[in-house]
């Protein structure tokens, strides 16, 4: 439902965090869409994703999956899921997808004030919006802000609080580099929407007390 919607962070932190999902509507227009989805994969790789995967393939580019794996395994009912670490790249992909006119549904998760204008500049008229109204209920059982900024980058909740805390501690103790820790954090998210560049920034800014 909300896979890429509830990413936490300030406006400034979210300026370099966009998730793209391209999907056929199963039962409506999915037949014969494999080639169109492969074209999307080509466009995404031409621009350069921060992360990408295919559930149909073996995982993400951070667990050894390649562009060829993704293209080979995708099928008519498949989805392209990926993320970008700059507004410019996201806009470039949207523009190229508009030019390709593949008839697939495109959703972009990111700052509303950035995504809507970039979609319009590409000639799209945004159709539907899914707003995040925050986290409620027994919020006393949640971890701290920095940990949540990391864990909510996996929309299925597979990046564990304990793993985020462990990686903050490893980085702060000098036992792991930012790159090593960010890639470790990305691995449980096999949809490929965990933004490794942003994770590095969060790890850099985190204090060891954020791991408590």
């Amino acid at each position: 439902m909300t896979h890429s919607l509830h990413r936490l962070g300030s406006v400034e932190e979210l300026r370099n965090d966009y998730v793209l999902l391209v999907t056929p509507a199963i039962g409506f227009n999915h037949e014969g869409k494999k080639a169109a989805l492969q074209k999307v994969v080509d466009i995404v790789f031409d621009v350069g994703p921060n992360n990408i995967a295919s559930i149909e393939a073996t995982g993400t580019i951070f667990t050894g999956t390649t562009k060829e794996d993704i293209k080979e395994n995708i099928h008519d009912k498949g989805r392209v899921r990926c993320c970008f670490d700059s507004r410019e790249k996201m806009e470039d992909v949207i523009r190229r997808l508009a030019e390709a006119d593949l008839g697939l549904s495109i959703t972009v998760s990111g700052l509303i004030d950035e995504v809507v204008p970039m979609a319009r500049r590409a000639g799209f008229e945004p159709h539907t919006i899914n707003l995040s109204l925050g986290v409620h209920g027994n919020t006393g059982c949640l971890p701290g802000e920095k940990v949540l900024e990391i864990t909510t980058m996996c929309g299925h909740g597979l990046v564990a609080t304990k793993l985020a805390r462990a990686m903050i501690k490893e980085v702060k103790a000098g036992r792991k580099s930012l790159d090593e820790a960010a890639v470790k954090l990305a691995q449980p998210c096999f949809c490929g929407i965990f933004n490794v560049a942003r994770a590095k920034q969060i790890l850099l800014e985190a204090d060891v007390s954020d791991a408590d």
């Binding site: 919607l5 509303i112 539907t128 109204l133 986290v135 299925h156 909740g157 990046v159 564990a160």
Partner: protein, 240 residues
């Protein structure tokens, strides 16, 4: 999930990978707290177990434990919807399917998210409260198939104790009914043992505005600055 304690070397490498903290050190090895485990499969897929001690027993796929698997492991596809993940399309293909039309909204209460998990007792607290407002539970959401009766929102007794990473109570209603729906969610939120993430889907108006924003403002609810936006690229395009 299980860990074979005859094989486990007690390195504890897998412990931090469990999203619900169900892998616990014990007597020099580790074990899985089966009550807390949601069968998401993360430890088996990702944790670097040097001895291959983590395994998935057949029971995971037997009812009602199988509910944990399909609601927690995005690789598991729901039989009811053919959709992986938590099992619903929400706004991803609304430009083609027209599931949420102008003048209508979809409200989703994702219990257990982020990172806490939930049982179905908490889910039922929300679903039974919303059922009283005459909303329509999304038929393509697999949670709806666990309801005894969608007019009451009651969940089947045999699954209530199962724990999942998250489950989404998803309702569709008119914009006019949005305020009572959100007020009800607010009221029930204080009764829950878990957390929930709340989202609201609507069409853009023809002038590009978002019709629900004035209602949210009146209620003192401020949406986050980031959202998920369907660009309207799908064909054939639903204009309703």
């Amino acid at each position: 999930m299980r860990i074979d304690d005859n094989v486990c070397t007690g390195c504890w490498e897998c412990v931090p990978y469990c999203p619900v903290g169900a892998i616990l050190p014990e007597d020099g090895v580790v074990r899985v707290d089966e009550e807390q485990c949601v069968e998401c499969g993360t430890c088996l897929r990702t944790a670097p177990c040097p001895s291959g001690a983590i395994y998935e027993p057949d029971e995971v796929y037997r009812w009602p434990r199988s509910v944990r698997k399909v609601f927690s492991d995005p690789k598991a596809v729901h039989k009811e919807t053919n959709v992986p993940g938590r099992g619903t399309e929400e706004c991803k293909t609304n430009d083609v399917t027209g599931r949420v039309k102008r003048g209508r909204v979809s409200v989703a209460v994702e219990l257990g998210r982020p990172g806490v998990g939930t049982d179905f007792y908490d889910v039922e607290r929300v679903s039974t409260a919303l059922a009283q407002l005459g909303v329509r539970f999304e038929p393509c959401n697999p949670l709806t198939s666990l309801m005894e009766d969608t007019s009451t929102g009651r969940i089947r007794d045999d699954v209530k104790g199962e724990r999942v990473l998250s489950a989404i109570v998803e309702v569709e209603t008119s914009i006019g009914n949005l305020r009572p729906v959100l007020e009800t969610v607010r009221r029930v939120s204080g009764e829950l043992r878990t957390v929930f993430s709340l989202d609201l889907i609507s069409r853009f108006d023809p002038d590009g505005s978002i019709p629900v924003l004035p209602i949210l403002k009146e209620m003192g609810l401020e949406p986050r600055p980031n959202a998920k936006i369907n660009l309207g690229a799908g064909r054939p395009l639903c204009t309703e």
